[in-house]
Amino acid sequence: MSLTTESSTNFWLTRPFSERSTQIFLGVLVAALALVTILHVAVPAGNPLHIGAYTVNLFGKYLSYALLAVAVDLVWGYLGILSLGHGAFFAIGGYAMGMYLMRQIGDRGTYGDPVLPDFMVFLNWDSLPWFWHGFDMAWFAFAMVLLAPGLLALVFGFLAFRSRVTGVYLSIITQALTFALMLAFFRNEMGFGGNNGLTDFREILGFDLRTDATRLGLFLATGVALALGFILCRAIVTSKLGRVSVATRDAEARTRFLGYRVERFQLFVFVVSAMLAGLAGALYVPQVGIINPSEFSPIFSIEIVLWVALGGRATLYGAVIGAILVNYAKTLFTGIMPDAWLFALGGLFVFVTVFLPKGVAGLLLHLKRKKRGDDDSTPTDKIQEASV
């Protein structure tokens, strides 16, 4: 949490390891991954402590959401950009993975066409659209998982930041972006399966997606990705670049007058965040087994922001807590009383913004300091206060 400068001489990527909060976070994450693995593999199925494949899969989904939340927190918490369109980057990463998985089906689809996915045969297409080429190769597809959302963010961010679109305007425009993409992906002519999206996946890198072992593997891979993504974000925000970002967040005009090319910093952080969101989407898709245009819906994007707000903005670990809490609650609610979920979600939006402006992480810090009897406000806090 601290913005100390003592370790700034170290290599920037290893710097986060010297931070207390990162150490705790990584420790908890690794312990949780290990615990789930042990309870899943070593404890027999009859035992009440046993974690079934379904639950492992669910946890894997939560972890990919957590990575997405970290990506959003990077831009919202440290750059002051409220993106209501991060679902678009998530979904594009997901589609890139989905295209790879579709090509892996080969001739095992319903229509048995060796090259064309089922939905293209259904639409009477003769050949693969140009943008589907190459996705049969894992390295190309995995590269696209990062590059496609990154490119979109680069073009969009370049246009937006160059003309100094900020604040509420930027939020609305990002929302329009994801809305436009949703409409586009709903069209069959786009070549992404239209309404139904991409589904019916068989295997990834040769592993059958329906076996428990693959599911556990995907869960662990998502956990590792989350850890790496977290370290990368921490490294960015503790670097000099990160401090310029925070300065931009708090006083954009002043930072510009100090001689920083604000739009370049914004663009860099925005693109990194979009790539992380794409990675999260790519890890999400094989675990839920489907990707369709509903991931582009503006509501989903705005929900991501709620996870971050609930967990605590500008902490990164708060985003992870928020994503897991909200999605766990969603799983519970939609199982017990589906009608009440939207009430709860809506109420949460109001409650968090009005009563918990610093989220759960802020609450934890507050309690910790109170216990110690410290002054409740630190310089870092004051910076954050000024920004929110």
């Binding site: 246009l159 604040g167 509420v168 425009i173 709620l306 939207l342």
Partner: protein
Amino acid sequence: MRRFLSLGLLCLLLLGMTLNAQAQDAETNNPDDAAALELLEALDVDSYAAKGEAITAILQSDDERARDWLQALLDGRLQRTDDGRFVRVLDNRGRDWPVADVLTGEELGEMSRRDLERIGINNNLRNQLRSAIAVVDLYSPSVERRRTSAERLLGEVDAELVPILNDLIEQEEDDQVRYRLTQAVAIYRAEEGEMAGVEALDGSLHPRSRVALSRAANSDDPVVANAATAALTGIEQQLKINRGLETLYFGLSLGSVLVLAAIGLAITFGVMGVINMAHGELMMLGAYTTWGMQQLLPGQPGLALIVSIPAGFMVAALAGVAIERGVIQFLKGRPLETLLATFGISLILQQLVRTVISPLNRTVITPEWMSGSLVVNDALSLTLNRMVVLGFALVVFAGLMLIMRRTRLGLEVRAVTQNRAMARSMGIRATRVDIMTFALGSGVAGLAGVALSQLTNVGPNLGQNYIIDSFMVVVFGGVGNLWGTLVAGLSLGVINQVLEPWVGAVLAKIIVLVFIILFIQKRPRGLFPQKGRAAEG
């Protein structure tokens, strides 16, 4: 052959009938029921030839009810009861049929089908009846009925009818009926390849005329064919203009809805710098108010709609004030948090409507004076409900302009929009202005909902469908400028409708969104940015 004979006979009789009708012109058109009963009784005979004569007699009688009788006879619904009365069967399903007296029109309740005897007809009579029904109304004293009847004749004319129609054209006093009848004859002639018909159809926009002309264009006579082709080209040109006008009309209509939806948003955003994501749901509340009013005032949809205008305004305005006092005032100076909190409220309101009323769409009745359309010509008709909404949007806009320019509230609102701190130090109570603005903006959203209920389905998702579009209008038009909202809304509506036939509805929407994203590159503050110190952001 028999058909031809009977039709010939009919024509002769109809000729006689015109004279008869003229003779009777001054007299009453509703002869006493005894005479009518006599006419009907002549139908209840065994010989079909005699029935044919009876039908002709009915045509000659010039009784107003003749058309109904003949129609009922054609449908097999003209029946006779045991006690000799003639009735029309209203519904011939089941065992007992509801019937009505054909003379008085009085409903007699249900009767067992056993007690009824049908007046039978054969195919010849059926043909005779169809032709008779087609022209019988042309003799009616009511202009309205003559018009509809003439309209129906387009493309239905055959050789036997031509002389009758020609006579009618000479006698007809109403221009519209005469025009239609001339057209009907011309269509027949053009289809037969006659030059006169082609010439008469030149410039006619009716689809039937075009069919006739394209047939004439394939005629063996090169002169006729050329004339028909030339006429067709001219008509196509005219149609293109009309289609353009129609697109413009639909575009303006869509634009007026966007203006209504966006203008309230623009006011609140301009004054308070907050985006109210629940704005769409306030529109939804307005629409549901209309629905509720129609439930309260059954059978009077028009009155309910008028009452809904103030009611919808009040409901949405109160909800808006509740949102402002309950949530937004605690989030001063945190616009992004306000956006999230109001989004939460929009979710709650949507779910509330789903739980309390229904997740399904409700139907709001369109009052009579708003349904139907204004027919400009055969190719262009403007639906009335859209016209009313367009007018309503302009009235609301003018009203808001007045409030902003001519009232104390407007002055204070403009002052706070331009510079909140300065306005406060000049003694304006900014909090009060906030509340009033929010109430005003929300109330306008309610009005938008009332208007929308006349154009689309009223359902829990009504607001969601418009919220992004109305943001686009605000962003495009520039904040704090009502003219900007008007111009932006109308032009976005027209652009959307112009693109739609080319690329489809979805792609049109995407193109508009991309266009706006690019547009704010050039003009980040919209079409009409605020000038001066207020502009610093």
